[in-house]
């Protein structure tokens, strides 16, 4: 009786331990699940180009100021927009230029991550071209100018008169691919 009981107990412990390990793996599985979920639902989708739609309606009665911001974090790059802000009509395609200078004597891979204010701007912003879609490789002391092409759609709430588009460059370790390639 005592012996058979012990065997039953050990079998159950084995099952519960396997279950525990499965749940540990599930914790890790949540990472791709989360990414897939965001991709399917279109949440947080900031690093992929949007498709250019021709004949967009331009709301010529409204003006929105787009402030441009640039930072580099942890790498010796000087990074700035060539114009501090642009005034646009919602719906009108806009081209802005950014400039990076590698101030060091080594080749560095960087990746820019966008951030918007207000945060729901991503729903009304269509980007067709951006240096943030790929990684940027800069040779020692190289200077590069890069365009961003976007449209802020007229669906932007009418109480918004100023928006900010900000980019931060981070260093990518050697050999690492761009984030969404």
């Amino acid at each position: 009786m005592a012996n058979s009981n012990a065997i039953v107990n050990i079998t159950m412990r084995k099952k519960l331990l396997i279950f525990t390990l499965m749940m540990f793996a599930f914790g890790y599985a949540l990472v791709p699940i989360y990414e897939k979920f965001c991709e399917v639902t279109g949440i947080n989708n900031l690093l992929q180009p949007d498709v250019l739609v021709e004949e967009n309606w331009v709301d010529t009665d409204r003006w929105v100021t787009v402030e441009l911001d640039a930072n580099s974090r942890g790498l010796p790059w000087q990074f700035k927009p060539l114009q501090r802000s642009v005034r646009i009509n919602p719906g009108e395609p806009v081209d802005v230029m950014y400039e990076i200078i590698n101030n060091s004597d080594r080749e560095i891979n960087g990746q820019a991550i966008p951030s918007y204010s207000p945060t729901y701007l991503d729903k009304h912003l269509k980007k067709f071209e951006c240096f943030c879609f790929t990684k940027q490789v800069l040779k020692p002391y190289e200077t590069r100018q890069m365009p961003v092409q976007f449209v802020i759609e007229p669906s932007l709430p009418t109480n918004i008169h100023t928006v900010t588009i900000s980019y931060t460059f981070f260093e990518l370790p050697d050999g690492k691919k761009a984030i969404r390639e």
Binding site: M23, F24, G74, Q111, I113
Partner: protein
């Protein structure tokens, strides 16, 4: 158990164990291990309580008085971690160790050696947490939920915290596996699942929740660790990760965790209320189903902690309705407890007082929970003292009061002595008064917009903060009385009658002498 019977010793079978410190280090007896769990959690309760006193002393008046902001943040962080993982959870495991074998008629826990191991991991983890205050950079200071980026930036203290959480998680998982196996395989003949005392039922469900979510917590802190030291970017936007992902995984663990801390207290209250009402529990089976529904629902509500993190409206609505749904099974429980007391021959000894206090105050905490579940209100009160008040109503006057009820209820069985009833009643009424003094006013502070985890505040919050701090000091001192009562009961308490509670019907009262012998139910009782 017969296998460990020694040969060289002259001791009888019943007390064959080493003496002194080695008895406690090597013990595999569920009662010894239960006692160690309870003493450990009591000690941790005072460590966490001391941190709380520091927090309230700093908040006694506006301005920075005694704690620099950096140290204040360490206090709030470690207060949370120590109370959750060091005090409340081990205390319930201590109750489980003592009570489950006696309540189902088993001789011991299923895996006695693993049981010893799961206890002795705890002091290691606790020392890591406490010592982390003294390493360069101090203890973790990013809140007990250790959200990145703060937790990916902190110093050595964060690594020690991560390691401590790993150890505590391993301990909890081993404890749960032990409890599940004991309950499912080692019940006395005739003790069917639906005859088990409700305390055992709630622990069975809690243990399943633990093996479900503790590994996920272990996973998420591992990701944090590799983000910190091994170049991964799970939560680092620069490397393609997402800090919000951490919040999702953390709360996938974190919300079931709060039910892990409350379900066993439902079990204790469901034992105490019928005993002192001298009536069987009203709606036993509905209690079991309600517990199970709460456990299942608790796994699909996690994002209500993240309404302000950015979420589509559909998501917010889903998590809001799912959260509000939990009020239904919880309401069933409160209704059943009340119905059990209805027309019972009630007496109001200390365990009963704490159980009734639990019902009163837990319902307040439950209601403020429903309020927080409503998205627009939650966006308003997120990270304010309203939330602090809410979860202290469910954790202090919920879990902790139930632990006190259980301690007073079973102390005579454990020690063979009665506690001092007059002092017990003083302990209850002082706790009740000071608890409400501390936390009720925090609702007002939160509604007025006072943020949590900040050492200073605007002048208009000064009065309520002073009241709250005075209450906290009183509550802290009152708990010293509890330690006195327990020690007094063990050392010089009056001898307890065989069955001090005439309404008690569970096996440990009906089939075992008082105090419970070191080895009990070596021949299982037959339950009719």
């Amino acid at each position: 158990m017969a296998a460990v019977h020694g040969d060289a010793h002259g001791h009888g079978h019943d007390d064959h164990h080493p003496t002194g410190i080695m008895r406690w280090i090597t013990t595999t007896n569920h009662k010894d291990i239960g006692s160690m769990y309870l003493w450990f959690s009591l000690a941790m309760f005072f460590v966490g309580g001391t941190l709380a006193m520091g927090i309230r002393a700093e908040l006694y008046q506006p301005g920075i008085q005694i704690l620099e902001p950096e140290l204040f943040n360490q206090f709030t962080t470690l207060h949370g971690l120590i109370m959750v993982f060091g005090a409340i959870m081990p205390a319930f495991v201590g109750f489980a160790n003592w009570q489950i074998p006696m309540m189902i008629g088993a001789p011991d826990m299923a895996f006695a050696r693993m049981n010893n191991w799961s206890f002795w991991l705890l002091p290691v983890a606790a020392s890591l947490l406490v010592v982390s205050f003294f390493v360069p950079g101090g203890a973790a200071a990013g809140g007990w939920t250790f959200y990145p980026p703060l937790s990916t930036q902190g110093g050595l203290g964060v690594d020690m915290m991560i390691f401590a959480v790993h150890i505590l998680g391993a301990s909890s998982i081993m404890g749960s596996i032990n409890i599940i196996t004991t309950i499912l395989n080692m019940r006395a003949p005739g003790m069917t699942l639906m005859k088990m005392p409700l305390f055992v039922w709630t622990w069975l469900i809690t243990a399943y929740l633990l093996v479900l979510v503790m590994p996920v917590l272990a996973g998420v802190v591992t990701m944090l660790l590799t983000d910190r030291h091994f170049g991964t970017s799970f939560f680092n936007a620069a490397g393609g990760g997402d800090p919000v992902l951490f919040q999702h995984i953390f709360w996938f663990f974190g919300h079931p965790e709060v039910y892990i801390m409350i379900l066993p207290s439902f079990g204790i209250v469901s034992e105490v209320i019928p005993t002192f009402s001298r009536k069987p529990l009203f709606g036993y089976s509905s209690m079991v189903y309600a517990t199970a529904s709460i456990a299942i629902l608790s796994c699909v509500v996690w994002a209500h902690h993240m309404f302000t993190a950015g979420m589509p409206v559909v998501g917010q609505l889903f998590f809001m309705y799912a959260t509000m749904l939990i009020a239904v099974p919880t309401g069933v429980k409160v209704f059943n407890w009340t119905a059990t007391m209805w027309r019972g021959s009630m007496t109001f000894e200390t365990p009963m007082l704490f159980a009734i206090g639990f019902i009163f105050l837990f319902v307040i905490g439950g209601f403020s929970g429903v309020i927080c579940a409503i998205v627009p209100i939650d966006i308003q009160v997120q990270d304010t003292y309203y939330v602090i008040a809410h979860f202290h109503y469910v954790l202090v006057s919920g879990s902790l009061f139930a632990l006190f009820a259980g301690a007073y209820y079973w102390l005579p069985k454990w020690t063979g002595n009665m506690y001092n009833e007059t002092l017990g009643k003083w302990h209850f009424w002082l706790s009740m008064f000071f608890f409400n003094l501390t936390f009720f006013v925090q609702h007002f502070l939160g509604l007025a917009g006072m943020p949590r985890r900040i050492p200073d505040y605007a002048l208009q919050f000064a009065d309520f903060n002073k009241i709250s701090s005075l209450g906290a000091f009183g509550f802290g001192l009152t708990q010293v009385l509890f330690v006195y009562i327990v020690i007094n009961c063990i050392r010089s308490g009056e001898k307890s009658p065989e069955k001090p509670w005439d309404g008690a019907t569970t096996l440990e009262w009906t089939h075992l002498p008082t105090p419970a012998p070191y080895h009990s139910f070596e021949t299982p009782p037959v339950v009719k």
